[in-house]
Amino acid sequence: MSLLLIGCTPEPDGRDTGTQGLDWGFERPSQTAQYTADELAEHVESWADTYGFPFPQHAFNRYLELMEEGDESCPAGGSLDDTSRFPNLGRLEGCSSSTGWDYIGIGIVFDDDLRDEDGIGAVRVGFNLADFVITSPDGEEFSGGGSSKMQIQYQEDQTSWNAEFGGSWEDQTTDATPWMKASGSVDYMMTYHNEQLATNGYVGIGEYAFLFDRLILNKEECPNTPHDGTLWVRQEDGSWNQLTFANDCSGCATGTWNEEVELGEVCLDISLPIDEAWNTLQAIP
């Protein structure tokens, strides 16, 4: 009879379930170097050729262009005071213009000319806060969420430019800048001073993800290639490659994976995007 009294509640097996850990036999995802030096160069060049560098000017100018697409009542007439050369967007509940463009959200711009009577000082333009979606008559969206600053600093004997750019920006409308078409996520600073352009920050565009780690270009000595600093390049498995430039103008960097595995010399040709960078950075509205 007792044989029939088969319970089905699992019997404890007497295992010590203290701190010994378990062994389910999981195979954790592993990370390995995905690129050779040449492939890494190709990857970076591909990004540079396809998308170029994401500048706040791209987003800001696009915003200005598309703000012109509405009519007198939409997007204009929003709740924000308009105290700059550039329109604010204040349409928390959204509006539809007679031209077919729709606007929702906010775009709080700043436009400060802080120069003194001698012309010394800064001119700053940008978004204090952008959080908007602008939709074309065809249903394509330009969407921005973040902030930006574009600044020219005038001094007696020189001028410098700098940019700060953060947030997520996407533009599916016609004639969109390529990096916004692919959807960009940015958090970086960039300064140009004494002939040097320095970048520091995080940039994600489409499938590309980079860290610009004090990457420096020298306009005088090496205008077409990074001069110093490190460009970090993310792989699909979440690990990172490093291209460390050695303060020369060889156009080549020392490549490593995970800061430990040497990949060899990585030589880049990204002259075209760099030219564009010089020009764009100076083009502050």
């Binding site: 009294l5 379930t17 990370q31 928390l92 970090w232």
Partner: protein, 542 residues
């Protein structure tokens, strides 16, 4: 049925899982619930609804069939829905407001507000529920490469895989490069447990340790009196890595936070930042915090490995056993429950970390099956809950099951929301200010139940005599003297309250029917009687 044949029946194997459990063991502490009431408890806990009349009658006839019904409930489609609400009591993600962003930020109509809120907050809950229902190893909850989305989130978030033109919850995958980490990779998780530039994902790290391994770092006292020169420090964030008083928590928090920077938002309250993962920011974690990612001292590569580190951590499974025990026992656990949790944990591990096995073990236990204490004391309610109050979703699901009445208001499920609804008034959890269900009847709950009962009874009474619904077979021509009247009343009582009416109860309900009929008419009397049944404490409790 003889005891021998009962044993033989118990010994026969069935195809789906482990169907048989011992009869409720003889307990020194508890009187067990009668089988029909235990069936009611299991049905409400596992499906959110009452057992069918047929099931009640079958178990009444043959109590050994109870276990079979319990196993059916674990395979019932309503089990997945019920899991979402049970899991909410621990995970607290289904809130009504998300970090100052709203449905209108997406241009959605107000009638979509509730659906939008739940599409976000239920995402991690639905993922876990689906894993449980599919009988997957519990590690899947932190390593899955997929998530769950609705017709709303699949359109507004970077997701793929949602069936075109469909509605409801379906498996999806994110397309923004976030790693496969189950709930740790869901927007629903991080829209609930937010962070900002000052906090740098530390609160998220604390949420992970509390929710997944039951290590509540925030419960540890923090005393600035013991921290040397915190006011002198130029950089307090450096102190968290050097000062012993800070390191007690931060030795764990900082490396864990460092793994979460893909979810770092550079601008707060902006949907464009919040809805996507930022792979390029992953490397910001170690750089900003000055430590490499690690899980309780074990180095990891980042979020992509975090889920696996958790899945390898025994505490993850013990914590799961712990909170499921608390959820199904309907009370907070104490140190004295350690042995009980150990037993359930063992069963969970032996069951290859399938949550259904864990739930079986818990619902087999003495305390779960307890109907009363053998010796009652005033404070025994703090030891075990032998009488439980229906939760808001159980009320809602049960009323819908019985009457098709669903209390909605302009897109809101009124028993599952708080902006216009009655969730917290009914003792529910809002996930934010209220994190534990109210377990005793309150004034507001009684009022909500009253109105719910009135509305549901009215809807049901509209089908009186039509062959549909609870009153479908009732005739307006019956009077209390008719045998059919008594039979119908008995059946209603059994179906709604889960137990046979004694003569006093039948007499009481007959009397109220008569009273109302004398004031109005037969239809109103049946409606009122039904409404009274829905307000009966034996309906509201189980």
């Amino acid at each position: 049925m003889t005891r021998l044949s009962t044993f033989i029946l118990v010994a026969l194997p069935l195809t789906t899982g482990c169907r048989f459990a011992p009869e409720t063991p003889e307990s020194s502490t508890f009187e067990p619930l009668p089988e029909t009431l235990l069936l009611k408890r299991m049905s409400l806990d596992l499906t959110g609804t009452l057992p069918s009349l047929e099931a009640l009658e079958a178990v009444e006839e043959d109590p050994a069939l109870l276990e079979g019904f319990r196993d059916e409930y674990l395979e019932d489609p309503r089990f997945e829905e019920q899991l979402v609400f049970l899991l909410q009591e621990h995970w607290l993600t289904a809130i009504d407001e998300y970090f100052s962003v709203g449905h209108d930020d997406y241009g959605l109509e107000d009638t979509n507000e509730y659906a939008w809120e739940r599409a976000i907050g239920q995402e991690p809950l639905r993922l876990m529920a689906r894993i449980i229902v599919n009988d997957e190893h519990w590690s899947e909850s932190v390593t899955a490469h997929y998530s769950m989305g609705t017709e709303i989130t699949s359109k507004i978030w970077p997701m793929t895989g949602y069936p075109d033109g469909d509605e409801g919850w379906h498996q999806v995958e994110y397309t923004d490069g976030r790693p496969a980490s189950g709930v740790l990779s869901t927007n629903g998780m991080w829209w609930r447990y937010t962070s900002n530039d000052y906090n740098q994902n530390r609160s998220r790290a604390a949420a992970i340790t509390s929710l997944l391994v039951c290590e509540d770092l925030l419960a540890r006292p923090v005393s600035f009196e013991n921290v040397s020169s915190i006011l002198e420090a130029e950089d307090v964030s450096e102190m968290v890595q050097t000062d012993p008083a800070c390191l007690a928590c931060h030795a764990t928090v900082e490396p864990l936070a460092a793994a979460l920077f893909g979810f770092h938002w550079v601008t707060d309250y902006v949907i464009q930042e919040m809805e996507r993962y930022h792979p390029e920011r992953e490397v910001a974690g170690p750089r900003e915090l000055g430590v490499n990612p690690a899980w309780w001292g074990e180095p990891i590569t980042g979020l992509n490995e975090l889920g696996w580190a958790i899945a390898d951590d025994e505490r993850f499974y013990r914590c799961t056993a712990e909170y499921w025990t608390s959820i199904l026992y309907r009370r907070n656990l104490t140190l004295e429950d350690r042995g009980t949790v150990d037993d359930h944990f063992d069963a969970f591990l032996t069951g290859e970390a399938r949550v259904k096995m864990l739930i079986r073990a818990i619902t087999d236990s003495e305390e779960y099956r307890a109907g009363a204490f053998k010796v009652s004391e005033d404070d025994d309610i703090e030891i075990a809950r032998t009488v439980r109050t229906m939760s808001p979703n159980q009320l809602s699901a049960t009323i819908q099951q019985l009457t098709d009445f669903h209390w909605t208001y302009e897109g809101f499920d009124q028993l599952d929301s708080d902006q216009w609804g009655f969730r917290v008034l009914l003792g529910g959890v809002d996930g934010d200010a209220l994190t534990r269900p109210a377990l005793d009847p309150s004034l507001t709950a009684v009022v909500v139940l009253k109105r719910l009962a009135e509305a549901a009874a009215q809807k049901s009474a509209a089908h009186l005599g039509t062959g549909e619904g609870l009153l479908g077979e009732v005739s307006l021509d019956w009077s209390p003297e008719d045998a059919a009247f008594g039979t119908a009343l008995e059946a209603l009582y059994l179906q709604i309250l889960g137990e046979r009416a004694d003569s006093a109860s039948l007499a009481a309900y007959t009397e109220i029917w008569t009273t109302v009929a004398s004031l109005t008419d037969s239809q109103t009397a049946w409606e009122a009687t039904l409404g009274a049944l829905f307000r009966d404490p034996l309906f509201y409790s189980y």
